[in-house]
């Protein structure tokens, strides 16, 4: 396509792949944490809350370094995944997705948790008296009613993922075609003499992608809300 160079296409598809995999992989985990934090009382809840939110307050470089320790080829988690699933992260796009997932997790948990807390639990009680067990109640009442939050979490997580820089470059470096997502490509272009035009184009693409994600989620939220005035953000 004339509009974009092959390199630019590669950067965009890689960014979308990293962002998509990060969000899809994090969603069940984020929902579980959000559920625990919104609905369950247990000892150590404050600690879990803190750990989940840590990537939000830690310098991303520190998160990247911790990922390197844990998921590097000699790290305990890295070895486990390599031996069990033949899945490695270092200097690979999977590592970029992992870094993005960790950075997106707190934002997704927050959004889902808020919407779970907003679900009227008396409606769940009503479903129970109508013969629905806990699973059916969850699938037909709780999940649909918290869908706007799930969508908001997905958008925030996706935006965070394709914008992720510090943890990614620390953990998986900046390898063209493998880990060079949009922000890393912009950074590289800035380092090169005469790269201004590339920077402008890539920055424009990044803004477009973010805007598109926002608009798609807003449309989905309106459909899910069926005119109840659901807004994602």
């Amino acid at each position: 396509m004339a509009l974009l160079s092959p390199e630019e296409w590669e950067i965009i598809t890689l960014s979308l792949k990293v962002g998509g995999v990060a969000v899809a992989g994090t969603m069940p985990v984020a929902f579980l944490f959000a559920w625990l934090l919104a609905r369950v009382r247990f000892p150590g809840k404050l600690l879990l809350d803190g750990i989940v939110h840590l990537p939000l307050v830690l310098p991303p470089v520190v998160t990247g370094w911790l990922l390197l320790l844990a998921f590097g080829n000699n790290g305990p988690a890295g070895r486990f995944f390599a031996e069990t699933f033949e899945l490695t992260f270092m200097f690979r796009w999977t590592g970029a997705a992992l870094a993005a997932a960790i950075m997106a997790l707190p934002l997704m948990v927050r959004a889902i948790r808020l919407s779970l807390e907003a679900v009227d639990r008396r409606l769940e009680g009503a479903a129970r008296t109508l013969g629905a067990g806990p699973v059916r109640t969850f699938l037909t009442i709780t999940l649909p009613l918290s869908l706007p939050g799930v969508l908001a979490g997905a958008v925030l997580g996706f935006a965070r993922s394709i914008g992720e820089f510090g943890a990614t470059i620390t953990f998986v470096s900046n390898i063209p075609g493998e880990t060079r997502t949009l922000p890393l490509a912009i950074y590289s272009a800035l380092q090169m003499p005469g790269g201004e035009q590339t920077v402008t184009r890539l920055a424009f693409i990044a803004a477009l992608l973010s805007l598109a994600a926002l608009m798609i989620s807003e449309i989905l939220a309106r459909r899910a809300g069926s005119g109840r005035g659901g807004h994602v953000l």
Binding site: G125, R128, T129, L130, G131, A224, R228
Partner: protein
């Protein structure tokens, strides 16, 4: 039910419960024959908590709950039937229709729990009984108070309950709508012959509808 004097028909409601909620203590002993049993008293007397205990949404600290001879809860025997097994038709004060489902889906929500043979009302019958045919494709937030309350009653009836719990079903309605819903409740009491446990703070309403009045 048998009219054999050696085996008298079981009580519709045989309730003896207590429960502490914060500083308040709720206690009720009630034995009532079929018909409409009204729990009558001021707000804050724990009437709704009683209904929640019968429905299985609130666990009593002590006592037992038996409806039409079946034990729903018995602290001494550690029996506690889950709410979805109690076959209660609960009409909540605020309707509690599912906001993301159209009226038709709300009405049908409780149908599938019941085996074909145990269903005693079809959607068409409920719709005709309550006069809600025009509402089926609407969303709950577009309904008026009276319409929503009729749908809520229909949803409870369509789950083929063995008894009804009604929590101030007339509270949010104007005079004309109240009359309409009261007629429906009388028909449920007299034609469908469902035992009803009814909560209200309105004396006139209770005196008109109740066969047994329990002050609280």
């Amino acid at each position: 039910m048998s009219s054999d004097p050696a085996h008298p028909a079981p009580l519709a409601f045989d309730i003896d419960v207590s429960r502490r909620l914060g500083d308040a203590s709720i206690r009720l002993t009630l034995r009532a024959d079929p018909g409409l049993t009204a729990l009558f008293g001021p707000s804050g007397a724990g009437k709704t908590s009683i209904l929640n205990m019968v429905a299985g949404l609130l666990r009593p600290d002590e006592g037992h709950i038996r409806v039409a001879g079946e034990t729903l809860f018995d602290a001494a025997r550690r029996a506690d039937l889950r709410p979805e097994r109690r076959r209660a038709g609960y009409v909540f004060q605020d309707g509690r229709l599912f906001p993301h489902c159209r009226v038709r889906a709300n009405l049908l929500y409780g149908v599938q729990r019941v085996a074909q043979g145990d269903r005693w009302m079809t959607l068409d019958e409920a719709v005709a009984f309550l006069g809600i045919g025009a509402l089926l494709d609407r969303l709950p937030h577009t309904l008026s108070g009276g319409e929503a309350q009729r749908v809520a009653i229909g949803r409870a009836l369509l789950s083929s309950p063995r008894f009804l719990l009604m929590d101030e079903p007339l509270a949010s309605l104007d005079a004309a709508r109240r009359e309409e819903i009261m007629t429906v409740i009388e028909r449920i009491r007299d034609e469908l012959k469902l035992p009803i446990l009814y909560v209200s703070h309105d004396r006139a309403e209770v005196e008109r509808l109740a066969t047994t009045i329990v002050p609280l």
